[in-house]
């Protein structure tokens, strides 16, 4: 049986998800926690990959949408809405915010787009810091804890995050296979040419941004319910917003499995670094980021066994190219 590469990748991904879901009843509490954060980061990576990978826009707004999701969930739950409805509220809030931010920001290109999205993140963090009656300010907000024993609560959030990651994966697969994804890839290669061949560039870009924003906010909503306490510097974290693209690069930009592999790989590395070098963890994280850029420019997905031997030679003989 021969399959197209993207269908094969989809089957591999689905198998991974099935295995992860079955593990839910095998893992202890710590492992469930790590698993939940893997699933969350995979969902965020997949969401970012739609804009950053397929469309080629260097978005640094991931944490902005994530934070909006956190706060939307917290506020919805404080109004007495049940948890599932609050999550949907979070996703809707993220979609609306992405639409509102995307309309001005998506007119920008390259560096300006990156800076504009960072500015959005900074403004949102400041707003949540200062808008005290709504967000609790710098003190943060408490959310209701879930009833039940720690194991079953942990399992519930693990499965919820896994479900979201699956949703993000299937969305990506759908995008990869359809005209929409083709359009996004055209935009990445040459936006003017894409417009010339009849792609409604602005509509495509906005749709991708909204899709990505809604998924990020959904993840934020589940996260806020899980940790039951949010504060501005945690919800709108600059580190998260830059870590996510690094993870996707680690896996492979603009591919279906890249974000999954990158997310899993990164969390394992990070847990290892945290456990062993607590004082220098951010420095080592920095070294990892630098190493990914020099050694794995196409990500883990780009590794070809034959090429491994020439990796070092290529690195040392790399010369500055002045062409863009």
């Amino acid at each position: 049986m021969s399959l197209e590469p993207s269908s094969r990748a989809c089957l591999i991904g689905l198998a991974l998800f099935a295995a992860a879901a079955m593990l839910a009843f095998r893992l202890d509490n710590y492992e469930l926690q790590v698993g939940t954060s893997v699933a969350m980061l995979c969902a965020l990576c997949l969401a970012w990959n739609i804009v950053g990978g397929y469309m080629g826009y260097p978005s640094l707004a991931t944490a902005a949408f994530f934070g909006i999701g956190c706060y939307a969930d917290a506020i919805a739950q404080s109004q007495g809405l049940p948890i599932g409805v609050a999550w949907v509220c979070a996703a809707v809030a993220g979609a609306v915010a992405a639409l509102a931010l995307g309309l001005p920001l998506l007119r920008l290109k390259g560096h300006y787009f990156a800076i504009g999205t960072i500015a959005a993140l900074e403004v949102l963090r400041e707003v949540s810091n200062n808008w005290e009656w709504l967000t609790g300010g710098a003190v943060g907000l408490n959310l209701p804890m879930q009833a039940g024993d720690p194991d079953s609560v942990g399992r519930f959030f693990y499965l919820a995050m896994l479900g979201l990651a699956l949703l993000a994966f299937l969305t990506t697969y759908a995008i990869d296979r359809t005209r929409f994804g083709f359009g996004l890839r055209c935009i990445r290669q040459n936006e003017q040419a894409a417009a010339m061949v009849g792609i409604d560039v602005f509509k495509y870009k906005t749709a991708a941004f909204v899709c990505s924003g809604a998924l990020c906010s959904f993840a934020g909503g589940i996260y806020a319910s899980m940790v039951a306490f949010i504060e501005p510097k945690d919800a709108f974290s600059l580190i998260t917003t830059i870590e996510i693209p690094v993870m996707v690069m680690l896996g492979g930009l603009g591919t279906l499995l890249g974000p999954l592999i990158g997310g899993v790989f990164y969390v394992i590395l990070k847990e290892f670094v945290w456990a062993n070098f607590i004082n220098l963890h951010s420095g080592i994280l920095g070294l990892l980021i630098v190493a990914v850029i020099y050694f794995l420019p196409a990500g883990v997905m780009g590794i070809r066994p034959k090429k491994l031997g020439s990796l070092w030679r290529r690195l040392t003989s790399q010369r500055l190219r002045t062409s863009p």
Partner: protein
């Protein structure tokens, strides 16, 4: 009251110009968003603090040495690391400099701890038209402003300066004119680091500095750079002054906690409405 805020704003503006001009130059010439900039400011401040407080040297000896050390650091980083990926998409260079920022910041934190430190030089205050201005602030601002103007003069009148401007305008044409691009890139990054170091020294003269502030400095540099327009010294000066005054006014009108947000909102407005900045066009110095 309003006068006091405007004067404070102008004082900050001089410092801000020095803080942002290196960042702006690197962005304009190399097309790299240098996330390391905030940590280079801290590095300058701490090099100066180290010389004055641990080695007991006078500040007028230490300050130029600290800035010189930053130049060497910047030159080496660009020559050895960033030049290898400088022509790749922005995401790569941005992430690389962010990785370097994590490393440098963690090392500073490790060796100097997070305690805020200041040079603790008290030069008194002067009264001017009923407004009180600390002398240390005037000195810091003057040093920063003079170095910024000196850089402007160098870019206009020295051979290297003209080469840097030429590379910014068109790097292919500059290469054809016999300018060695990697060399100019490394020099530009070195100058950016030098100016960051100078801003750090001036900062340490006025405020207590901690490694945790690198993100704040970086944020200011972003805003100023976008306000004034990329890669130009006058742009950085205008952007710095505008930000200083706007933050002062924002503090007066809404309270100090909103000052940063006002700056960022102004930046988003400028980025969307006037992408080439308040100073207008990209071109000659």
């Amino acid at each position: 009251m309003v006068g006091q805020y405007i004067v404070n704003g102008i004082m900050m503006g001089g410092l801000y110009a020095c803080l942002a001009v290196g960042f702006s130059l690197v962005w304009g010439v190399l097309n790299v968003i240098n996330m390391l900039h905030g940590s280079m400011v801290i590095l300058g401040a701490y090099a100066c603090l180290f010389g004055v407080q641990r080695l007991g040297l006078p500040i007028y000896v230490v300050a130029p040495l600290a800035c010189g050390a930053l130049f060497v650091f910047g030159y080496a980083v660009q020559r050895g690391l960033i030049n290898r990926v400088v022509s790749q998409p922005i995401l790569i260079t941005l992430t690389l400099t962010f990785g370097l920022e994590l490393i440098v910041n963690n090392l500073i934190l490790h060796y100097f701890t997070a305690t805020p430190r200041s040079l603790g030089i008290n030069l008194g205050t002067v009264e001017l038209l009923g407004m009180r201005i600390p002398v240390a602030r005037i000195v810091g601002m003057l040093i920063a402003a003079m170095l910024t103007l000196l850089l402007y003069w160098l870019l206009r009148h020295s051979k290297v300066g003209r080469a840097i401007v030429a590379v910014r305008m068109d790097r292919h044409a500059a290469a054809l004119m016999g300018i060695r691009i990697p060399q100019i890139y490394a020099l530009t990054f070195g100058i950016g680091a030098f100016m960051a170091g100078a801003a750090g020294v001036a900062m340490a003269l006025i405020y207590p500095v901690t490694p945790m502030m690198s993100g704040v400095f970086l944020g200011k540099a972003f805003v100023i750079c976008v306000l004034g327009g990329l890669g130009s010294v006058p742009g950085a000066i205008i952007g710095g002054l505008v930000l200083g005054i706007v933050e002062g006014m924002g503090t007066l009108a809404l309270g100090p906690q909103w000052a940063t947000s006002v700056g960022f909102l102004l930046m988003m407005a400028v980025i969307i409405l006037l992408p080439s900045g308040l100073a207008g066009k990209k071109g000659y110095e």
